[in-house]
Amino acid sequence: MYNFIIQSYANYKGLFGWLSWFSYLTTVFLRPVVMVITYGVLGRFAGSPEVVQRYAIGIAVYSMPVIVLPGLAQCYTYDRSGGTLAFFYATPVNRLVSYLSRPVFHYPNALFSFVATLFAAWATVGLNLVPVNWAGFVISTLVTAASVTALGQFLGTFAIVFRDWTNVQAVATGSLLVLTGVIIPITVFPTGIQAFARFLPMTNGLIAVQQTFAGNSLSDVTGYILWESLVALGYAVLGYAGFLLFERVAKRMGTLELEAF
């Protein structure tokens, strides 16, 4: 356990490039506030004022991947570009423990960002907190953050073999913004895309978060939470498979310190 904690901390401290106080505070706390103000004012200017609260909840959930996905991708990229990944691969260290240790300190960032966004929304556009089912809301949020982190792990492993992590992250975060119901309800998309969206992190979790925020009971959203948990598990397993596979690819192609593709 001690080894696991040390690995988690070392991975986070050494490989997260946004850990300077300015970058961290502005990314985790200021950027979500800017997003809330942007969508809040836009909702009033160009949309309809009554949807602003729904946008705010959506943006609060969306703030999770915005911090977690790049954070985890950096964790893998800098491990390679810094030359430490080769040492890791040379050891018989348990790969699963290493894989699971990487997101430990990134997960709270998702929650910090979510809370900061929600607070900003409450302060700037006004949120009705009276009907909130807090137990269901908290559980939905924790599960959604876990699901987003699992996606980060899945995408992060690609950074081991791909030249640049930023384009992959840009496409991923963009897709989540458009397809998971953050602002645009998924019901406006064709059936096929709706079905695909159900397999994306956040889609089901966001519904659970929004419904519990509106006062629905936990039992009303259990299905969404379970589905979100399954999605999280799926991405975590796929990510681990990718972690093992890309190790083989990098070794076979002799590209441990370089990108394979």
Binding site: G17, V34, I37, F45, G174, I183
Partner: protein, 259 residues
């Protein structure tokens, strides 16, 4: 003439850096889904003036993202690649070199701006209805001037604060908000309006909004244009001072590389 030649060379160098670097597209890519969502929100109400404004302003977001980030990192990149010292040894002012790089970056952003426009058009299915096209064209010149001055400002600033990763994470969306790329800044809370009015882009975008709505006299644009030039001059002055601080730390105290 020599300085112009140096500026063109700097633009070519920046162009190659962008095209070779794999991350060249990420900032523009990330702008596309964001502006798609903005456009979708605007479509819900369907106000033609608002849709027209957003068709014109949202493509600027992709240029802004790329310009601020890339130009913002040029000095830091040169320092870490050990080429900044040569820039200072040469007789060409480094601000001229940065200007060339900013121009290259903005030119690079134009195709993605067109792509962004196409995305917004596909979502809104609206052709921009501009009441005064001439005024719009003139105002876009001011927008480009504002973009250049804003992007150049961040180049020495980023270096002086240590060139940390993630420095632009909040600055880029904050700039989008304060520049009026999503909605005219008079919609913002008062505190943010005050901040926005210190930036040339907010004034330039005011005239874009005016061009969309139409005006019986261009004299209404003179005030915002004058303020745009005034704030550009102010921002450029601060930028010049920051460049001087960078130069001093490299040539005189020699401590810039020791954080």
């Amino acid at each position: 003439m020599n300085q112009l030649r140096a500026m063109v060379a700097a633009a070519q160098q920046q162009w190659k850096t962008i095209t070779i670097g794999g991350a060249g597209l990420s900032l523009q890519i990330i702008a596309i889904p964001t502006v798609a969502v903005f456009a979708w929100i605007a479509k819900q109400r369907g106000d033609p003036a608002v849709l027209s404004y957003m068709l014109l302003s949202l493509p600027l977001v992709s240029i802004w993202n790329g310009a601020v980030f890339r130009v913002g990192w040029t000095l830091s990149g040169e320092l870490s690649n050990q080429t900044l010292h040569f820039v200072y040894i040469s007789r060409t002012p480094v601000i001229i070199v940065s200007l060339g790089k900013a121009l290259a970056q903005i030119t690079w952003g134009l195709p993605t701006a067109v792509l962004t426009f196409a995305v917004v058009f596909l979502i809104t299915r609206t052709v921009p209805q501009v009441a005064d096209v001439g005024l719009l064209l003139f105002s876009l010149v001011f927008v480009i001037v504002g973009l250049i001055s804003a992007s150049m400002f961040f180049s020495p600033l980023n270096l002086l604060v240590g060139g940390r990763g993630g420095f632009f994470n909040a600055i880029i969306p904050f700039g989008v908000l304060l520049s009026g790329f999503v909605f005219p800044v008079d919609r913002l809370p008062v505190v943010l309006q005050v901040l926005a009015r210190c930036l040339p882009l907010s004034w330039a975008m005011d005239v874009v909004w005016l061009a969309v709505q139409g005006t019986d006299s261009w004299t209404r644009a003179i005030g915002p244009w004058a303020m745009c030039l005034l704030t550009t001059a102010g921002l450029s002055g601060v930028t010049y001072l920051l460049f001087k601080v960078v130069e001093r730390r490299i040539r005189v105290t020699g401590v810039l590389e020791m954080y």
